[in-house]
């Protein structure tokens, strides 16, 4: 695994890139089989329950995470685009069947995988609302959700190896 991270501090987009030493088919399997996805979606001791995984545009993608101290993180969402072995796009702004939602954390994530040498280039691009939208969310109590996020980060921050 090679770490390469592009910091885009001026933008609301995160671009996270890794060269994974495994074939694309294996990476695709780990992402699209819910029994495998729940093994890596959040680091232990947090656990992931995959409540819905309907891998098609408009299909529900719903994860629910539990921490050791009773903390939880509820993340319903919706797949927007699915290109087998290449690309998955999902968002928290819709739930299954394209139904609009008002998530505590608004984002759309684009997951891309491509062959590179003997391995696979994996790029996750996570897009967040612009500052004005975020400030509005802030006024609406958005940061209550943000506290959940901090609790979660603390768990994520534990060594996962």
């Amino acid at each position: 695994m090679t770490r390469e991270t592009l910091a885009n501090p001026d933008q609301q987009d995160l671009v996270i890139s890794r060269l994974v030493r495994a074939p694309r088919a294996t990476l695709w399997k780990a992402w699209t089989d819910p029994d495998l996805l729940k093994e890596w979606w959040c680091p232990k001791p947090w656990t992931t329950e995959v409540r819905a995984f309907d891998l098609r545009p408009g299909g529900a993608f719903y994860t629910f995470m539990r921490g050791p101290d009773g903390g939880t993180s509820d993340n319903p969402g919706c797949f927007l685009e699915v290109v087998p072995q290449a690309r998955i796009v999902f968002t928290s702004l819709l739930i299954g069947g394209w139904r609009p939602a008002t998530p505590w954390l608004a984002f759309t994530a684009v997951i891309a995988m491509a062959d590179e040498g003997a391995g696979t280039r994996y790029v996750a691009t996570v897009m967040h609302p612009d500052k004005a939208t975020r400030d509005r969310h802030d006024e609406m109590g958005f940061f209550e959700g943000w506290n959940t996020c901090i609790d979660q980060l603390e768990a994520f921050a534990q060594p996962s190896r």
């Binding site: 991270t5 910091a7 996270i16 294996t26 890596w40 996570v126 980060l153 768990a155 060594p159 996962s160």
Partner: protein
């Protein structure tokens, strides 16, 4: 603004490392001495001190020495709320992506040994 941007990329750099994220996680529960912080990590103290100094330079933590004991704590005002938010999102996705890479590489090794 230019200064702010430079500062934010230092914070990104500081939190891009799993050891440093773990340190921040522990300090999230309150100040701790260097020896308490270092105990769970299987690394030499000088290497561990390097991680602490990266965190301190980026302004994520601060430390003070009383007698022979150096205590570290988070600097909560080091970033605006909006900046903290995006830094945390990055830390979450970095950690998740590391977890996925390690999992996929293990899965691949298992596939190979089953052939």
């Amino acid at each position: 603004m230019a200064n702010q941007t430079a500062h934010l990329s230092e914070v990104f750099y500081a939190l891009a490392d799993p050891t440093r994220r773990a340190i921040v996680g522990v300090l999230g529960r309150g100040p701790a001495s260097v020896s308490t912080l270092a105990a769970p990590f299987a690394m030499a103290l000088p290497s561990f001190m390097k991680h602490l100094s990266v965190l301190e330079r980026s302004g994520v933590i601060r430390s003070s020495k009383v007698g022979r004991i150096r205590t570290c704590e988070l600097k909560p005002k080091s970033l605006s709320r909006a900046e903290q938010w995006i830094v945390e999102q990055r830390a979450i996705w970095e950690t998740r992506t590391d977890g996925m890479s390690a999992f996929v590489e293990k899965l691949h090794r298992k596939d190979l040994s089953n052939d």
